[in-house]
Symmetry: C2
């Protein structure tokens, strides 16, 4: 289960990638358009977009000669749900252990 999650988290564990995602969250944009308002090169952005695309957080949309990218909030929400499930499961286990400890 976590096999699918880990690459997503790795993708989300980078400040630059978040600046890209939040920019795309406002409106879809191409790598060049993003390069215009972020302090890094277009090629660096392209690599980040490729990473984000591979984990399904972003989707390329060809518009004429340029390639716009759209952020996919649904993937993020799906990841959030899985994460919450794991968190509550662990919390449950902890509670169980505590209960047993009290029974000494």
């Amino acid at each position: 289960m976590t096999e699918i999650l880990v690459p997503v988290f790795a993708a989300l564990g980078d400040e630059t990638r978040w600046s890209i995602l939040t920019a795309l969250g406002e409106a879809p944009a191409s790598a060049s358009a993003l390069a215009a308002r972020l302090p890094i090169s277009r090629q660096a952005i392209a690599k980040h977009l490729e990473i984000l695309h591979r984990v399904g957080l972003v989707e390329p949309v060809p518009v004429g000669r340029e390639v716009r990218y759209q952020v996919l909030g649904l993937e993020l929400s799906a990841t959030a749900r899985r994460l919450d499930a794991i968190g509550t499961a662990w919390e449950q286990r902890l509670a169980d252990i505590k209960t047993i400890a009290e029974g000494l």
Copy 2:
């Protein structure tokens, strides 16, 4: 807002760290105990535990001369909630754009 999230995701974006977390999810354990059932050295595990601790995913509990670590599911669930909020916000923006586009 994301400033707090990013290091957490970076911590979660590593397979080994998940194997540690899932092990701790079953029951609290020390670095040495974890080293006994994971294929990496105790020192490597100690570093991972330090990282996990810094982002609040794990908590050290001194027991005699050893240091047990407890996984904190609540932190994970909290992260999940924030993530979901962001995801739905982006989805909303996309829907808005689509609505505007239809209005042409």
